[in-house]
């Protein structure tokens, strides 16, 4: 009977606090992850929205081609009208 009481006391004084401490730590850690994941999701959503302008690169590409073609014509004319060094 004495050993039984000793076991009860050990269970109440040692095992229960350790179990509660560990479980509380696990819950706290999992709770702290949620806001971080939410922030990451917001940032990736904002990054995805920022990339909505990417199709405009096709316009830039076309305009660069036209500009380079104009510069080439301009340079060809200069090559004709200006003497070489």
């Amino acid at each position: 009977m004495t050993l039984w009481w000793i076991g009860d006391i050990v269970l109440l004084v040692v095992v229960v606090p350790i179990v509660l401490y560990l479980l509380n730590d696990v819950l706290s850690a999992s709770k702290s992850i949620v806001p971080s994941v939410r922030k990451i999701a917001d940032v990736t959503a904002a990054g995805s929205r920022d990339l909505d302008a990417v199709p405009l690169l096709l316009t830039t590409q076309d305009q660069v081609r036209q500009t380079v073609a104009g510069v080439a014509n301009y340079g060809g004319s200069l090559d004709v009208i200006i003497d070489d060094a």
Binding site: G7, N24, K31, I40, T44, V54, D79, A85
Partner: protein, 200 residues
């Protein structure tokens, strides 16, 4: 049942209840994390899909710009010569000659001449046509852009002045003489007989 057994059972039940509470709470948080990660994965997928065509487009833009840079550098060196080309570059963009021309690595070794001593202002104006002249703001088929009435003045302004005449509103030289509006030395003995030294 002895009292110790009852205490044991109550303690075990309390432990199980604590386990249930904390594990259920942890499961709820893990579900929230899973939902958040699902959102992240979706957004990252969108980012990947949107950035996929960027590389070939940018590569094409760079290829076009590289060709233009090469052609313009070659034209500049062909027409002006390497030394004067570097002077021209340094005159338009001070300090840029140190970087040299991309397709002419030997241009980095050249000390650029002071272009104002080599080229007239008209040549510099010609060089600036690509970025500053109003040549692109009107239709080439339209009327000329230069001022016809004051064409000679515009042409004269292209060349260095033999005499520094600007700024245009320089203060005029002071008028001197006995009838000048302001007498700078107010002396009472002017016009009177000269004073003579007394002999000892």
């Amino acid at each position: 049942m002895p009292a110790a057994g009852v205490v044991l059972i109550v303690t075990v039940v309390l432990i199980v209840l604590a386990l249930v509470y904390y594990l259920v709470s942890t499961i709820v948080q893990l579900r929230a994390i899973t939902n958040g990660l699902d959102d992240v994965i979706g957004n990252v997928g969108e980012i990947l899909a949107k950035t996929e065509p960027v590389e070939p487009v940018v590569a094409d833009i760079n290829a076009n710009l590289d060709a233009a840079v090469g052609a313009l550098e070659g034209l500049l060196v062909k027409k002006a010569g390497m030394d004067d080309a570097m002077g021209l570059v340094d005159g338009l963009y001070p300090g840029a000659a140190a970087a040299g021309l991309r397709d002419f690595p030997e241009s980095r070794e050249i000390t650029p001449p002071r272009i104002g001593e080599v080229y007239t202002k008209g040549t510099l104006t010609l060089a600036r046509l690509g970025r500053e002249a109003p040549i692109a703001v009107a239709n080439p088929a339209g009327p000329v852009l230069r001022n016809v009435e004051y064409g000679s003045l515009n042409a004269r302004l292209l060349y260095p002045e033999a005499r520094q005449a600007r700024p245009e509103r320089l203060e005029r030289s002071p008028v001197i003489g006995t009838d000048s509006p302001e007498q700078y030395e107010q002396r009472e003995d002017i016009g009177k007989p000269r004073k003579r030294m007394r002999s000892a």
